[in-house]
Structure formats: C-alpha cells, structure tokens
C-alpha cells in the first residue's frame, strides 16, 4: 500500500509537470486527465470512495471534456507556438521552486501534524457524506444551485455574439 501511494504520487507529479511543459493543448488535457485519475486513486486510498467517484465523473468526465471540446472548437489543436520569453520562463520556474520551498518551510514550522487513530471507516461512503451534507450543510448545498444557475447564465451571456 505504501508502494501504491508513492507510485500514484509519482504519476501525479510527472503528469502535472508535463501539463505545464508540453506544448500541444490536446496533450495538456490528456496529461491532466491522467493526473486526475491518479488523484482518484489517492481518494480511494484515503477511504473517500464517494469523492473518488464524483471526482472522476465531474473532472475527468465533464470538465476535461469541456476543455477538449473548447480546444477543438477553437481549432487550437495544432501546436501554436505561444511561448513566453526565456527570461520569463526561467523566472517562472525559479518562482515556483521558491514557492515550493517557502510553503514547505511554512508547513513544517507552523504546526505539527497529529493523526487521530483509529480511523472511522464508514464516513467516506455515500451514506456518511450524505448525512453530513443534508444535515449540517443543507443550506450551502441548496445555495450552490443558485451559483450554478448564475454561472450558466454568465456563460451564455459571454457566449452570445452581440451583447
């Protein structure tokens, strides 16, 4: 199991790097999908089966397909050379690296991580999440429908030609 964790992590990081560095948008999307699938594996490892399923459905099934769809629609699949200047790219990499180090330092310094043992085993399932979602978080859940409607209206507004 520990091996599984390291393997999934390696896949995720490699795919994420490829998302950043590969030039073709289609390839970007494919790598991102791979990354997300590995993420779903992590969810299962963490005993969050419901999230794993929703993650695959929403991200891989809906969002990434939407990305692909837009790329195809806008005819961006041929590798257009859109690169920033070398200086910018190098500084971006350096900034990312510094950011990583600083965040690591911050997490190490600011708190100690204590895990609670033993784990409850059933809350990651649909029934466990559902109970919490429809009791404590009922109002935010219903409010999110409004968010969706406004996002939908907004997307349509942007999509119209003559506004």
């Amino acid at each position: 199991m520990v091996f599984l964790f390291y393997m999934l992590s390696a896949i995720m990081i490699i795919c994420a790097l490829l998302v950043v560095f590969s030039k073709n948008p289609i390839n970007n999307v494919i790598y991102l999908i791979l990354c997300f699938l590995a993420m779903a594996g992590h969810y299962i490892l963490l005993n969050a089966q419901f999230l794993a399923v929703v993650h695959v459905i929403v991200y891989t099934g809906a969002i990434m397909v939407l990305f692909l769809f837009v790329i195809m629609l806008l005819n961006l699949n041929k590798a257009i050379i859109l690169r920033k200047s070398t200086v910018t790219r190098v500084s971006a990499v350096i900034t990312g690296g510094i950011f990583f180090l600083v965040l690591l330092a911050a997490t190490r310094q600011t708190f100690e991580i204590h895990a609670k043992y033993p784990f409850a085993s059933d809350f990651g399932l649909v029934s466990g999440i559902g109970k919490v979602l429809f009791n404590e978080f009922l109002l935010p859940f219903e409010m999110s429908s409004i968010l969706f409607i406004s996002a939908m209206v907004g997307a349509m507004m942007f999509g119209k030609k003559d506004v």
Binding site: K84, S91, T95, F99, V102, A105, A106
Partner: protein, 631 residues
C-alpha cells in the same frame, strides 16, 4: 422673579439674531421697507424684553442673576458655560444698546430707503446689535470675547458697506486691523486671567480677586493687557485712527458704532473688571494719562475738520477720552453715566448729521452748508439740544455727566481738572462752530435744495433729543438735591474707588467758573462764525504751521505709515522677491518634478501586462509568507 428672568433673558439677543437670519436669508424676497420694518420691530422687541428684565430685576431684590443656557466648553480644568450675567451694569448697557439701537434702526428705514442692498444693511445691523448684546450680557470673558469679535467683524462689514468705493474698503480694513491689535492684547489678557484664577467667569474671578494684594505684578499685567484691548476697541491713543476713518460707512452705522455699541465695549469691559483695576494703581495712572491725552488731542484735531462727520468722529474720540479719564480715576460709575448720556446725544448728533447730509444730497462739507435753520427746523432744534448737551450746559444731560468727571479730576489733582476743562472748552468751541456753520448764515451751495427729512427719521431724532435733554436727571448729584440714582444702582456691579468728597462750596465755585468759560467760548464762536461769517480756509489755501499740522490730524496716519507700514512692506517685499523666489518656489517645483519623474518610472510597471501582474501577485504572497515566518 429670578426664574422668570432666567427663562426670558435669552430672548434679548435672540430677537436681533432672528432679525439677522430673516433679513439676511430672505434678502432677495423682501421689498421696499420690509427688511427695515422687520429689523426695527425685532430690535424694539428686544428693548421691551430688556425693560421687562430691568423691572423684574428691581422687584426681585437681587443684585445679579446668572443665566446658564448650556455647557459650552468642558475640557479638564477648563469649564465654560454659555451663560449670561444679568446685573445692574449689564442691564443698563442692554437698555442703551437696544434702546438707542432700535431708534437708529427706525431712522435707517428712512435713511437707507433707496439703497439697493438695504436688506443686507439691516441684516448686518441686526448682527451688530446681537454681537453687542452678547458682549454686554456674557457671564465670562470668553462670551464677552465672542461679542467683542462679532462687533469688530460687523463693523468691518458696515464700514465697508459701500464696498464699491476703494477708499471705503480701505477704511473698513483699517478699522479691522486696528481692532485686531487691541484684540491680541485682550486675548492675552484672558489667557492670563485663566492662568491666574483658573476660571474666566466674572463672579468667580472677582470673588477670588479680593484675596490678591494690590499692585501685584500679575494683576498689573492682566489689567494692562485688557487695557490694550479696550484702547483698540474704544479708540484711544495710539489706536484711535480707525474711528474717524470709520465715517466711510452709512451715517446710521456711524451712529451705532459711536453711540450705542462698539466703542463703548472697551469702557464696559473695564467697568466690568473694576475689581481687578482697583488692584492695579499703575494701570489706572496709565489710563488717566491716555484718557486725558486723547480727550485734548482729539478735540484739537476736531477744531480744524471740515467734514461734518469727521468733526463728530473726533468729538467721539475726545468724549471716550473723558470716559477713560473717569475710569482711570476709579470713578467707574461716572464713566458709565457719561457713556449713557453720550450714547443719547452722540446718536442724536449723528442722526441729525445724517438728516442734514440726506437733505443736502450727500454733501458732507460744512463749508458748503449754512442757513439750514429755517429749512430744517426739527433737525435744527434737536441738533441744538445735542450740541448743548455735549458742551455741558446745564441742565442738559452732558452737564451732569461731564461735571461729575471733572469734579473727580479735581479731587485727584487740580491740574487734571484744568486740562480736562480745557478739553471741554475746545469741545464746546468746535461743536458750536459746527452748529453755526451748518445752520446759520446763508446757504452757500446753490445747487442743493434742503428739505426737512421724513417723519420716520425725525421721530427718532425727537425721542433722542428728549433723552439728551433729560438724560442727566438719571443721576442728579447730591449737590442739586438728587441721590445719584444711577451711581447707586450700579453700585452692586461696580466697585468704584472711594475718594474724598469736595465741599459743596468748592464744587459750586468750579461749576460756576466753568460755566462762565463755556459761555465765553460760545460767544466767541458766535462772533467768529455768525457775526463775521468767517469761513474755514479752503483746502488749497496755505495755513500757518500749527493750523496745517492740526488740519492734517498731526500727521499721525503718516507717522504710522512711516514707522510700521513701510518696514513691514519692505520685509514683505524681501520675503516675496528673495526668499520666495530663491527658496520656496524651487522647493515646491522640485517636489512637483520629482513626483512626476517618479511617476514616469513607476508608470512602466502598470503596462497592463497580465503575466507581469501574476508575477507581482505571487511575489507579494511569497513576501507575505516569508514575513510571517520570520516575525
């Protein structure tokens, strides 16, 4: 009774304030005489309220009532309520201010009827009356100071009322600046008072002052500083030059400034602070000197003036000098008595002069008048009454008040008496010169068609002349079987110095000799200006040296210009041409150019480049986290 007094006292200043608000705010809607009628009515209401207060106070049996309206300033030790002090002194002043003020307001309806800014005029007059009432009613130095400044400001507005004439504007500015010099002393005096007594309220200060030693340096300093304020306001040497120039305003304004309000403020303030002044013999001696010098000096200048209002102005300065003399002698109630009678006859003189100027179509030069006696009988008779009063002919009011001051002077020092009497004789001479030149002889300006003024102007004249004639009976001395009523009345509010009484035979001798001299002077004036019909020299004619000096008012204005204005102007020039151009301008410009250059540099950061913004954002977050980590 006391409760009644406290509940209606605020009405006295409230009426003129209301009048100011109405006539000031609605000045474009008021037509013809409406503004004047409103203003006069409200000031009359104020007078009636003051009368009512007077009788209430008498029947209440109390000497003074403090009316606290609200707590005004409260900070640490400093606790100043907005309060009015109604006592015998302030009620006397209130009656003078509102009474004479109301008559002047009514007169102004006629005098100003064809001025285009008549509503503004009445608004400013009402504000003036309001400020003066605040001044005399205030229960502490700070409220007195509000009124003090308000009066100064309104006088600026009113003197410069015809502001289209630059000379009038200059006169208004001069009055303001001169007053400012006095005000500086006054402010410092108030600060020192607070510093010494930890209070500015009259009652508290005066109750504490009894414990102080006479002639203490602190009290001398305080009284001298307050005196500087009074000298500025009441036009004494060396700050008197604004008053003659204040003639630039409309004549009713001159009457208001000279008779009822403004110049009396200094006298009132010193009389109010009599307890402090009694402790400062040095200041009292200074006041005697100042008062006497001003009285004689101004009277001498008055001899050679040819503008009817200027003559009256110098006579005011001179009479104020007498009041200062009385104050300096410690005879505060005599000063207030002279102030009262002076308010009557000087208001009458100014209003009469206004009537004459009105009739002559704006002409103010007495050399061009003459023979008005037949044309304007009412004005003539009232003017004559006022002239007799100011000259001190019994039984007119001026006689009693001036005689009281002269007697006090004699008690102090016979030399003072002789000098003061000399001033009085000069006063008598130039007043009769004025009277004879204006009303006797033949009319010298053929183009004018003098006529008697309308009734709205003559009725105040008649009322004031009655007051001028009989005003002296308020305070008949014991010599004539009276009881010095006003002096006794004021006794509770003013602590006069007790001096040795003269024997009645000496007093009668003094009066008779002075009367004989006065008669001689009147005869002399009559012979010169009526019998021989001597006209004062025209401006172009050459005069003897002394005459020239007097006609030019001893060149005091020129001396001030040379001593103060020129060096100051030079200093200003230096700062403007050298310091400003060499130091200030480059500094200011430098700041400007530096800012715009920096802006030019920083501008490049704001190119609208999204990716740069992203970098900046990430950098900011990074710095923020690092900062938190380190700190």
């Amino acid at each position: 009774m006391v409760a009644l007094i406290s509940s209606i006292a605020w009405l006295v200043p409230a009426f003129p304030l209301l009048g100011f608000l109405i006539t000031g705010l609605a000045k474009n809607r008021l037509k013809n005489n409406q503004a004047g009628i409103i203003a006069s009515t409200l000031v009359s209401f104020s007078f009636i309220t003051a009368l009512f207060l007077f009788f209430s106070l008498r029947s209440s049996g109390q000497d003074s009532v403090t009316v606290t309206l609200f707590n005004w300033i409260s900070a640490g030790d400093l606790n100043i309520p907005f309060a009015f002090l109604i006592d015998h002194l302030s009620i006397t002043m209130m009656l003078i201010v509102t009474g004479v003020g109301a008559l002047i307001h009514i007169y102004s309806i006629g005098y100003m009827h064809d001025d285009e800014r008549v509503s503004s005029f009445f608004a400013q007059m009402n504000l003036f009356t309001f400020s003066m009432l605040l001044l005399v009613m205030g229960a502490n130095y700070l409220i007195l100071f509000i009124g003090w400044e308000g009066v100064g400001f309104c006088s600026y507005l009113l003197i410069g009322f015809w502001f289209k004439n630059p000379a009038f504007n200059y006169a208004a500015r001069k009055a303001f600046v001169m007053n400012r010099i006095g005000d500086l002393g006054f402010i410092l005096g108030i600060i020192l008072v607070f510093f010494t007594f930890k209070s500015v309220s009259f009652t508290e200060i005066f109750s504490q002052a009894g414990a102080l030693q006479a002639g203490a340096p602190m009290i001398t300093l305080i009284t001298i500083l307050l005196l500087v304020g009074a000298v500025g306001k009441s036009a004494q040497i060396p700050l008197y030059t604004w008053l003659p120039d204040a003639m630039a305003g409309p004549t009713p304004v001159s009457a208001l400034i000279h008779a009822a309000t403004m110049v009396t403020a200094g006298i009132y303030m010193i009389a109010r602070s009599s307890i402090l002044y009694n402790l400062a013999p040095i200041t009292l001696n200074i006041m005697i000197g100042l008062g006497l010098a001003t009285a004689i000096f101004a009277a001498v200048i008055g001899l050679r003036q040819n503008d009817i209002k200027k003559v009256l102005a110098y006579s005011t300065v001179s009479q104020l000098g007498y009041m200062f003399l009385a104050l300096g002698l410690g005879a505060y109630s005599s000063a207030v008595f002279h102030l009262t009678t002076h308010a009557f006859f000087k208001a009458l003189l100014f209003l009469g002069a206004g009537s004459i100027i009105h009739a002559m179509g704006g002409e103010q030069d007495i050399r061009k008048m003459g023979g008005l006696r037949k044309k304007m009988p009412i004005t003539y008779l009232t003017f004559l009454a006022a002239t007799l009063a100011i000259s001190g002919i019994p039984p007119f009011s001026g006689f009693f008040s001036k005689d009281l001051i002269l007697t006090k002077a004699f008690e102090n020092n016979p030399l003072l008496y002789i000098l003061a009497l000399g001033g009085a004789l000069i006063t008598c001479f130039y007043m009769f010169r004025l009277l004879y030149l204006v009303f006797f002889g033949s009319q010298r300006l053929s183009s004018a068609h003098p006529h008697e003024s309308p009734r709205v102007m003559t009725i105040p004249l008649i009322i004031l002349s009655v007051l001028s004639v009989f005003g002296g009976f308020l305070n008949i001395p014991e010599l004539f079987g009276g009881k010095s009523d006003l002096g006794e009345f004021l006794h509770s509010a003013i602590t006069s110095k007790v001096t040795e009484e003269l024997s009645s035979s000496t007093e009668i001798g003094l009066i008779i000799s002075s009367l004989a001299l006065l008669g001689l002077i009147i005869l002399m004036a009559y012979r010169t200006y009526v019998k021989r019909a001597v006209l004062p020299a025209a401006d172009s004619e050459s005069l003897s040296l002394f005459g020239k000096v007097v006609a030019n008012k001893f060149y005091i204005d020129e001396v001030y210009t040379l001593l103060l204005e020129k060096p100051f102007g030079f200093l200003s020039d230096f700062f403007f041409n050298t310091i400003e151009k060499a130091v200030l301008d480059p500094a200011v410009d430098g700041i400007g150019t530096a800012t715009s250059r920096l802006g030019n540099l920083v501008r490049k950061l704001q190119a609208g480049n999204m990716s740069f913004y992203l970098f900046a954002m990430v950098g900011g977050i990074l710095l923020f986290i690092i900062f938190i980590l380190i700190v």
